[in-house]
C-alpha cells in the first residue's frame, strides 16, 4: 500500500493507487467547490424538506401526543400510543393479512403483466386498440372500479352472482355463498382480484417499455446460435428486462402496501376489522384516537422503508445494469 501525502486526503477514503494525482487545493476553496451545486439543488432540497421531511416529523410528534377524536391535544403521551399499538390484540392478524395482501397482489400482477407485455409486444392487427383498452382500468378511478365490483357482488342481484347462479355455482341468492364480501376470506380474494385488475396496466406498460429497449440484434444472435423460444426468453428477455421489472415491482410494493380505496370501498375493512390491512386499520382508529393512529402510521412508514431498502439491496445488481 502506497501512502499518499496529500494532506486533505488523509483520514477520508483510503487512497487508491490507480487514482491520478490531484493538484493540492486550499481547504476553503474545496468547501466552496463542494457547495457550488447548492443553488441548483436548493429547490429540490427545499421541496423534499417541505413535503417529505416535515410531514414525517409532524407524524412522529403526533404519534407521541394524546389527541382525542375531536382533535383536542390533551398533552404528551410519551410512548403510550406505541404501547397501545403493540398490545392491540388485532395487530398480528392485521400485519399478517397485510403481508399476504402485498405479496399476493404484486406476484399476481407481475406474472400476468409479463404475459401481457409479451403479447402486446407482438405485431398483430388491432394491437393499438388492445393497448388502449388495457389503459381503461388504470384510467378509471380506483374508487369507481371498487364500487362497481361491490355492486356486481351484491348477494341479492349482483351481476357476478347472477352469472354464477346460472352456471349453477351459486345455489341461492342472499345465502352465505352469495355474500362474497361478507365472508372475510372470500372478500380478501375478491379484493386482491380487483387490486390486481387495477395494477396490471401500469405494470404491463412499464414492462412493455423495458421490452422495447432490448435490441433486436441480441435476438438475432440467439437465433443464429440456435436457441429455442424458452431458452431465448429465460436467457435473454428476462435478464435484460430485469431493470424495468425491478422498478415495476418496487412501485407496486409501495402502492399496494398503502392501498386504501379498494378495501375501504368494498368492505370498509369489516366486519370487526377482519378485512383491514394496516393502512385501512390506521384510518379506522383515527376515528377515535389520533395519537394511536399516528403511532401506527410511524410503524407503517417504517415497514415501507424497510421493504424498499431490502428490495433495493437484493436487486442492486439489476439496478447497476440499468446504468
Amino acid at each position: 500500500m502506497t501512502h499518499n501525502t496529500v494532506a486533505e486526503d488523509v483520514g477520508t477514503a483510503p487512497p487508491r493507487p490507480a487514482r491520478p494525482p490531484r493538484p493540492t487545493a486550499h481547504p476553503a476553496r474545496r468547501v466552496l467547490r463542494a457547495l457550488a451545486p447548492l443553488p441548483w439543488l436548493a429547490p429540490a432540497i427545499i421541496l423534499i424538506a417541505a413535503v417529505v421531511l416535515w410531514p414525517v416529523w409532524e407524524m412522529f410528534t403526533t404519534s407521541r401526543q394524546n389527541i382525542n377524536s375531536d382533535g383536542f391535544n390533551l398533552g404528551s403521551n410519551g410512548w403510550a400510543n406505541y404501547t397501545a399499538v403493540f398490545h392491540d390484540p388485532r395487530l398480528p392478524a392485521i400485519m399478517t393479512r397485510t403481508a399476504i395482501w402485498v405479496i399476493a397482489i404484486v406476484a399476481l400482477t407481475v406474472v400476468i403483466s409479463l404475459l401481457f407485455a409479451q403479447l402486446f409486444n407482438q405485431k398483430f392487427p388491432g394491437r393499438k386498440v388492445v393497448r388502449w383498452a388495457l389503459i381503461a382500468p388504470w384510467a378509471a378511478s380506483v374508487m369507481m372500479t371498487s364500487i362497481v365490483f361491490r355492486w356486481m357482488l351484491d348477494p341479492n342481484n349482483g351481476v357476478i352472482n347472477v352469472l354464477l347462479h346460472q352456471l349453477g355455482i351459486v345455489k341461492a341468492f342472499n345465502g352465505p355463498q352469495a355474500s362474497w364480501l361478507g365472508n372475510p376470506t372470500d372478500a380478501m380474494c375478491w379484493m386482491i382480484g380487483v387490486a390486481v385488475f387495477v395494477s396490471i396496466p401500469f405494470t404491463t406498460y412499464a414492462l412493455l417499455a423495458g421490452l422495447a429497449t432490448i435490441p433486436g440484434e441480441v435476438y438475432e444472435a440467439a437465433r443464429v446460435d440456435g436457441a429455442g423460444r424458452f431458452r431465448t426468453y429465460f436467457a435473454i428477455t428476462l435478464p435484460l428486462l430485469r431493470p424495468a421489472l425491478t422498478v415495476a415491482v418496487l412501485i407496486n410494493l409501495m402502492n399496494v402496501f398503502n392501498s386504501f380505496p379498494i378495501i375501504y370501498t368494498m368492505t370498509s375493512g369489516g366486519p370487526d376489522y377482519q378485512t383491514s390491512t394496516s393502512t385501512v386499520y390506521m384510518y379506522a382508529i383515527k376515528g377515535y384516537n389520533i395519537g394511536q393512529s399516528g403511532a401506527l402510521s410511524v410503524l407503517n412508514f417504517g415497514v415501507v422503508i424497510l421493504i424498499v431498502l431490502v428490495f433495493l439491496r437484493a436487486n442492486k445488481n439489476s439496478l447497476k445494469a440499468a446504468n
Binding site: 412501485i251 409501495m254 407503517n300
Partner: protein, 425 residues
C-alpha cells in the same frame, strides 16, 4: 460511478417511498379558521347535519335545511347559513375529520353533545334557544342532552323502534300473529325462509350504519343493555346471551348472510321490496315502503319488538340532537337561527318528509291518535335511550365497526368494546 449512482437511486427510491407513505400516513393539520366577525356586518353560520333521505333527490335533508336557511336569510339579511349534510354511514367519519382539522361547524345535527360539553366548546341549550321552545321539548329526550346537570344537546327529531312484518309473507307461511318472544321470532323466520325465492326471514343489520341500534334492541330483550347504573356493562352475561341467540338465527340461515356487513338501509329497502319477512325499524321505514310501491298499506304492520320471554316494554328510543359550538362566538346568530328552525311548521315538515317523530311535546301530542305513528309515539314515555356518557360518541363508533364480529365471538368482541369504553372515560 456505480456506487454514486446506486446511492442516488437509493435516495430517489427512498424519497418516492417516503412520499408514497406520507400520502396516506400523515393526518395532522393545524390550520385553523379565524372566527368571523360577530358584531355588525355579514355573518356566516356553518351547519353540519345528517342526511335522512337520499342525497341528490327531492327528499334530501340538504333541501330541507336549505329551505329553512333561505327563509331565515330573508328575515335576517345579515346572517347566511351554510348548509352541509351527509348520509349516516359517512357522517361520523366526515364530522371527525372536520373537527380534527379544526374546521368547526357552528351547529351540528346528529351527534351526541356530551363530548363537546366536556371540551368546553358547546353552548348550553338555554343560551341558544328561547325558554318557550326549551320547555316544549319532550323531557325523556331533553334529559339525553345533559352533561353534569346542564342541558347542551337539543333534541331535533326522535324515533322509537318496533318490528315491521310483512303480512303477505306471514299469511303465505301460515303465521297468524306477530312474534312476541325470541323463540317465536325464530320459528316464524324459519317458516318465512322456507318459502324460498331467496326470502330473508329476519333482517339483521349489524353493518356500520346503525349496528348500535340493532344490537341494543336485542340486548334489551333479555334485560341487558349498554349501561347498568350509568356504568358500561357491554359484555354483561345478558348481552352475550343475546348475541348467542342472534348467532343462532344466522347459523340457522333465517337471516341474511354476513349480517356484520349489511346496513339497515339495505334491509329496509329489501323489506320494502317484499323480500324480507321481519325487520326492526323506526317510522322512517314507512316512506321507503311507499316509495318502493311493492307493498300496500294492508300488506305490512308493526308490532312491539320481541324480547326473550315477551315483547319489549322499554323499546329503543332514539333522538338526534342539535348542539351549537361556541368556537366562532356566534351565540346571537345561532340563537336566532335555531329559534327560527324549531318553529312548528318546520318540525312538522321534517316529520312529514321522513315519517320520524317530533321532538316537541305539542307536536307529539298531535300525533298520539295517528293510526301508524300512534304506537310509536306512545312508546316514547317508557323508551330506553342510548348512554349519555361523554365518550358515547367514540364507543358508538367502535360498536359500529366491530360488533358484527360479536355474533361468532360474543365474549371476545363485546369484551374488547367494554375495555375500550371503560379505558376512554
Amino acid at each position: 460511478m456505480n456506487i454514486h449512482s446506486k446511492k442516488r437511486r437509493l435516495a430517489a427510491a427512498a424519497a418516492v417511498g417516503i412520499s408514497a407513505a406520507m400520502v396516506l400516513s400523515a393526518c395532522s393539520s393545524s390550520s385553523s379558521k379565524s372566527p368571523a366577525a360577530s358584531s355588525g356586518g355579514q355573518v356566516t353560520l356553518h351547519f353540519f347535519g345528517a342526511d335522512y333521505g337520499t342525497a341528490g333527490t327531492a327528499n334530501s335533508t340538504q333541501l330541507y335545511w336549505q329551505n329553512i336557511a333561505t327563509a331565515f336569510h330573508q328575515a335576517n339579511p345579515n346572517i347566511t347559513v351554510d348548509i352541509q349534510t351527509i348520509d349516516w354511514t359517512d357522517f361520523p367519519n366526515k364530522l371527525k375529520t372536520m373537527l380534527q382539522a379544526k374546521n368547526y361547524p357552528d351547529i351540528i345535527e346528529g351527534d351526541a353533545p356530551q363530548e363537546y360539553a366536556q371540551e368546553g366548546i358547546a353552548y348550553p341549550a338555554s343560551d341558544v334557544l328561547s325558554a318557550s321552545t326549551l320547555s316544549n321539548l319532550i323531557p325523556t329526550f331533553a334529559k339525553q342532552g345533559d352533561y353534569q346537570g346542564t342541558e347542551y344537546g337539543i333534541p331535533f327529531t326522535t324515533s322509537t323502534r318496533a318490528l315491521y312484518y310483512n303480512k303477505k309473507l306471514f299469511t303465505a307461511a301460515g303465521i297468524t300473529a306477530a312474534p312476541t318472544t325470541w323463540a317465536q321470532l325464530q320459528t316464524d323466520a324459519q317458516k318465512i325462509t322456507a318459502l324460498g325465492n331467496s326470502t330473508i326471514g329476519y333482517g339483521l343489520p349489524l353493518g356500520s350504519e346503525e349496528a348500535q341500534a340493532e344490537s341494543y334492541m336485542w340486548m334489551l330483550g333479555d334485560g341487558g343493555g349498554y349501561l347498568t347504573n350509568g356504568q358500561y356493562t357491554i359484555n354483561s352475561a345478558a348481552n352475550i346471551k343475546a348475541f348467542q341467540f342472534m348467532d343462532g338465527l344466522v347459523k340457522a340461515g333465517v337471516t341474511e348472510a354476513s349480517p356484520g356487513t349489511v346496513d339497515r338501509t339495505a334491509l329496509w329497502n329489501d323489506f320494502a321490496s317484499g323480500d324480507v319477512g321481519m325487520v326492526g325499524g323506526s317510522p322512517a321505514v314507512v316512506p321507503i315502503i311507499q316509495a318502493a310501491g311493492k307493498l300496500q298499506s294492508t300488506d305490512w304492520a308493526t308490532a312491539p319488538f320481541p324480547g326473550e320471554s315477551g315483547p319489549l316494554t322499554d323499546p329503543l328510543g332514539v333522538d338526534d340532537q342539535i348542539v351549537a359550538l361556541n368556537v366562532h362566538n356566534q351565540k346571537s346568530a345561532i340563537s336566532a337561527f335555531l329559534n327560527f328552525a324549531y318553529q312548528d311548521q318546520y318540525q312538522a315538515a321534517f316529520d312529514k318528509l321522513y315519517d320520524l317523530l317530533p321532538a316537541t311535546t305539542s307536536a307529539a301530542n298531535a300525533l298520539a291518535t295517528d293510526p301508524i305513528f300512534g304506537s310509536f309515539v306512545s312508546a316514547i314515555a317508557t323508551s330506553s335511550a342510548y348512554p349519555s356518557n361523554p365518550n358515547w360518541s367514540d364507543v358508538s363508533t367502535q360498536i359500529k365497526n366491530t360488533i358484527g364480529g360479536a355474533l361468532a365471538n360474543p365474549t371476545t368482541v363485546l369484551g374488547q368494546i367494554q375495555t375500550f369504553a371503560t379505558s376512554q372515560n
